[in-house]
Amino acid sequence: MTSVLTPWERGLLAVFLCTLALNAAFAPEFLTIRNQINLFQLSIEKIIVALIMTLVIINAEIDLSVASIMGLSAALFGYLVNAGMGGGGAVVICLAAGLLAGLVNAILVARVGIPSLVVTLAMLIGFRGLARILVEDNSLGDFPTWFTDLGQKGIVGPIPVSILLFFVLLVLLGMTLHRSSFGRQVIVIGTNAEVARFSGLNVARVKTILFLLSALVSALCGLLYAARLGSVRGDTAFGFELDIITMVLLGGVSIFGGKGSMVGVFLSILIILNLRNGMGLMNLTGHIQTGVIGTLLIASVLLPNLLADLRARRARS
């Protein structure tokens, strides 16, 4: 087992087991199936988006607009349903809107050649703005029952559709990244896009596919979030990108691209879910939790750097 995991992933596993043990010791009801499902359910939309974000960051890009696309698709759904449209049609239109948003990102990044950091930062504002136009300062609800059931009720026993989707995507995207030729291309381009281009890889195509997928998954998760909460507002899913990017980077994915694994991200997701749960049990407010996540984000990049320095110094002496 240990030979399969990188040192970073072994560290994550140890931290995960620690949080698990602490949680189990402090709260006896922690290890029940109901609590475990709850644990996943509370952050399910973020952790699904984190899976596709893993591929985007390994490709040496970043998508800061994911939370705004989630908000936009949720707001659009609320708007359409309240305008008298059927739920099924509204879902299709929301997913199409997500794809369109992804296409805008993809064209500007892959074709025009503007850094994804700038494009998706502008779209973080822009797409959120569109969501605000749609719902203004209202809270839109009155969703069809089948739609809210989808977000709140179990589909296989007590397990809701979103958790199933998470595990299916985890395996699917994990296989794509580590076992398919597309995954190899993602990694090679992430390591050095210039070299990849000269080796005849279609860099623009790979990046386009990733930004389309990222936006589509985000739009879908926006709908799942709306279904789980039962209503949408202009600031639905606001600021989620922080948690999502933290999950990916804590998982050992390099912000400079080319390095990272789905196993690492899965472990980091488990850690963050347990930490949030544990902090909730200790009655820490949401703001302190966000602060802890922010600290984790910085530490997840700072620690490997410091360790590398230490190793270099020891090698020299």
């Binding site: 779209m123 504002i125 300062d137 912000i255 400079f256 996540i293 922010g294």
Partner: protein, 337 residues
């Protein structure tokens, strides 16, 4: 025409384009909103742009070094709150000291960012995305859910936003506007004439070459973040003066407004270029649009974010495409690209 395009510097072209955009915006809204071209509207826009300008100036310096400071809005909020608290407790504090205090608090938060980025070698986007949340959480804890109210502030601060420095005809130039303009001017002069300030450009345009040339790049980056923090602090002071009531959400999203002003003003997001005149015009354009939209009957105020995002994207896209086209024209003419 093509010969002219290649001879005029891209910088001049950008100022012309920005000037035209600003003029077009003002003329457009003048036809749409009754009483738009008035002294009142001038005051409204100039005092509002004055709050954004310092934070944009700081952001511009950070972006010149090929970094980004997403935590500036949170720093603004923390400083506005702490300054309000301090002035409430010590109403006799000299105004100049109050401004300095704001800039020092801001600089401390900026220094923490800078140390992590320059010496911890963590990318600025990661550090400031983290501290954006961290500083805001700190403010929530620090404030203990209490808000600063105008009543607790000394009278000079409450009067400050409506105090005029001088008048040109009907138009009053407020003290706060002068303060922001001064900060922008001093920075602009320093960036143009000071040898040490040119190093921000050197580090941003080619970090490796800068190190080869004997520049201590980490120290320059640290300095850029300290300056950005200090200017966010100055904006925090102006924010406190303008609004008086400070809650924990003060300055939320201001980093995005500042980045918008900087990018629209032609500071390259890839680092190494940009000017304070551009930043000033960018801040004016963004704020003019922002303030005019709220008074325009045709669209609701909820359009502001969407238009801001589109404005940034349009500016960056135009810039990228125009630069590419210019370089192509130049190399076709046999000039150095």
């Amino acid at each position: 025409m093509i010969g002219l395009l290649t001879r005029v510097s891209p910088q001049t072209l950008r100022f012309l384009a920005l000037g035209l955009a600003l003029l077009a915006t003002v003329l457009f809204f003048a036809t749409q909103i009754e009483g738009y071209l008035s002294a009142r509207m001038f005051n409204r826009i100039s005092t509002s742009a004055a709050v954004v300008l310092p934070i944009a100036v700081g952001q511009a310096i950070v972006i010149m070094t090929r970094n980004i400071d997403l935590s500036a809005g949170s720093i603004l909020g923390v400083v506005a709150y702490m300054a309000g608290q301090t002035l409430g407790a010590m109403p006799d504090l000299h105004p100049v000291l109050a401004v300095l205090l704001c800039m020092v608090i801001g600089a401390c938060f900026g220094a923490l960012n800078g140390i992590l980025i320059a010496f911890g070698r963590v990318p600025s986007i990661i550090v400031t995305l983290g501290t954006l949340a961290l500083y805001r959480s700190f403010l929530v804890e620090w404030s203990d859910a209490k808000t600063i109210t105008t009543a607790s502030l000394p009278q000079w601060l409450v009067d400050l936003p409506s105090a005029s420095a001088f008048s040109i005809g009907d138009l009053d130039v407020r003290v706060t506007v002068l303060l922001a303009l001064g900060a922008c001017l001093v920075t602009g002069l320093a960036l143009t004439f000071l040898r040490s300030a040119r190093r921000f450009y050197a580090v941003g345009s080619n970090p490796d070459a800068a190190v080869m040339a004997g520049i201590n790049a980490p120290r320059i980056v640290l300095t850029a973040f300290i300056i950005s923090g200090a200017f966010a602090g100055l904006s925090g002071f102006l924010f406190l003066a303008k609004f008086g009531n400070i809650t924990v959400v003060a300055g939320l999203g201001f980093e995005l407004k500042a980045i918008a002003a900087v990018v629209v003003g032609g500071v390259s997001i890839m680092g190494g270029s940009g000017s304070m005149i551009g930043v000033l015009m960018g801040a004016l354009l963004v704020d003019t649009i922002d303030n005019s939209l709220t008074r325009w009957a045709v669209v609701s105020e909820f359009w502001r974010d969407a238009l801001l995002g589109m404005l940034i994207m349009a500016a960056v896209t135009l810039d990228t495409l125009a630069n590419r086209q210019l370089n192509r024209l130049r190399s076709a003419n046999g000039d150095q690209p």
